[in-house]
Amino acid sequence: MSAAPMPVAVNTFREAVRDRVLYNLVFFALLMIGAAILVGQISIGIDRLVIVNLGLSAISLFGLVMAIFIGVGLVSKEIEKRTLYSLLAQPIRRWEFLIGKYAGLVLTLVVNNFFMTLGLAAALFYVGRPFVRTDAVILVSIYFILLELALVTAIALFFSCFSTPMLSTLFTLGIYITGNFASDIRGFGDFTKSPGVKVVTRVIYYLVPNFHNFNSIAAASHGEPIPLALVGQNTLYAALYVALLLVAASAVFSHRNLK
């Protein structure tokens, strides 16, 4: 295992910190504080439910914005700013550089999620109920959110290798949305009579990353357990898809002439 990606990853993380990306945590904290204070006014008895829904949805959405907006610039920004010239003249392979950039952004997301989890826990604590064993499903949900974000980051990185940030954002967002509704698209195909549509929708279903696999916020807010088998399968699914994307990105980037 080569060591070259590691310093790239650390530097990517450092860049995010110095770009004040982590300041989004301030907004998250304000959101959680506001929610914790106001939630009692909505309805008695579901304050914990609402805080978990809001907190996990915010963790997911903030993370998504970060994964996409930083992700699409991971490579293209370095080419644009020409910082890549002196770096690639170093003894580092192109795929090592990619893995490092990817790992750096994922690390940033993990750190971000960690602090948000603390914020969520604080809000739940404030609302008053002590933690019970079923709350562990909230942690599983956060893990699923991280898997999703890792997958979105890989998609964004892939596009970053050859496309402009604007187009990459559109493509990545498009795939994310399609991936969320993939099972509905397939269901639609199953209903129609046209065999052509059936085939197309099936292909879309298996091709696009099925983000709905990771839907877990409802389960977390209702305290329902998520089977361990699903945790394992989703981990494997995400790992395979990320590997696929990183291999494809390496192939594209290794042949790219830097302007």
Binding site: M6, R14, Y85, L87, A89, I92
Partner: protein, 319 residues
């Protein structure tokens, strides 16, 4: 005889141009060149000649359409070759949120040095390029000259055997340029090979063991500056003053330019004594007689002009 430090064989680079990207523009045409170990090699040419393209091909930033090259015996495809080279890009851009120290430390990771070794080497280099006092300032606050120095520092980081510098003097004031010249000479003293591109011919003349001239992607000539220049001594410059009241004699064998009472006259060597005799007769005061040494610039301009007249952009239509 040692293997050449840099060996380039038929290196060619085409870029697709036009809306449909069907036409190709050849930015480097069949370059064949060798640079010996320990040489300071100047790579000259007007803007757009293909100098930067050559450097980017050699450092693996772009890929050749045809041809091969080897540095220290290793192909340019081979990433391990990068351990032995240093590269200063034209107008270097670095991560502006890093300090110079952090940048060097970051790049230092790729050279297999331990943490302590890295720290020492970085401190050494910062000292050498005169950035020790600004080492902890973010690069976004650096002036152009400071960035250039940081760039040289990172090019020397892994103690490379071959150093590629793309316009290393650009944007520097005379003090800065002298420092860079000193560094280049120092590198040569350490036995390194320096390959640098420039369009400032006086620098090349002063520093280089050999130069190559490139224009429109084609190699026009290679040789030592002295050899190139020696081919062309042919005139003498006479500096003189006219006596008061006297005017220029007619029929002088050369052009006279006057500036503030003093006159310069360039005459072919063969006409020197005849011209001096004419001036003696009108009692002009001779101030100096010097050979007009053609500079590299003359050689250069002549080659480039010739190339422009005899060539046009090579168009290769993709079928």
């Amino acid at each position: 005889m040692n293997a050449p430090a840099i060996e380039i064989l038929g290196l060619t680079k085409d870029y697709p141009v036009g809306f449909w990207r069907k036409k190709m523009r050849r930015s480097l045409d069949n370059l064949t060149l060798q640079v010996e170990e320990g040489e300071i090699f100047g790579y000259l040419g007007p803007n757009g000649a293909g100098k930067t393209t050559t450097l980017k091909l050699l450092t693996g930033l772009i890929f050749p359409t045809a041809g091969t090259a080897r540095v220290r015996g290793k192909s340019i495809d081979d990433v391990t070759m990068h351990r032995e080279i240093g590269y200063l890009p034209e107008q270097p851009y670095f991560y502006d949120y890093l300090t110079a120290r952090e940048l060097l430390d970051y790049y230092g990771h790729f050279g297999g040095l331990s943490k302590a070794q890295r720290r020492e080497r970085v401190a050494q280099l910062l000292e050498r390029v005169g950035l020790a006092s600004a080492a902890n300032l973010q690069l976004r606050k650096y002036s152009k000259g400071m960035l250039q120095r940081a760039g040289i520092a990172q090019a020397m980081l892994h103690d490379p055997k071959v150093v590629f510098l793309d316009e290393p003097m650009s944007g520097l004031d005379p003090v800065g340029r002298r420092e860079v010249r000193d560094i280049i000479l120092e590198l040569k003293n350490q036995g390194k090979t320096v390959f640098f591109s420039t369009h400032i011919l006086s620098d090349a003349e002063m520093l280089c063991d050999r130069v190559a001239v490139l224009a429109s992607g084609k190699l026009l000539g290679v040789g030592a500056p002295g050899d190139i220049v020696a081919l062309e001594v042919h005139a003498m410059d006479i500096l003189f003053e006219l006596r008061e009241g006297r005017s220029l004699p007619a029929g002088l064998p050369g052009q006279v330019t006057t500036m503030g009472g003093r006159c310069h006259m360039e005459v072919p060597e063969s006409d020197l004594y005849a011209a001096l005799e004419q001036l003696r007769r009108c009692e002009a005061r001779i101030l100096s007689v010097l050979p007009v040494r053609p500079t590299l610039e003359d050689y250069f301009l002549r080659l480039v002009e010739k190339e422009k007249v005899t060539s046009h952009t090579v168009e290769v239509t993709v079928r």
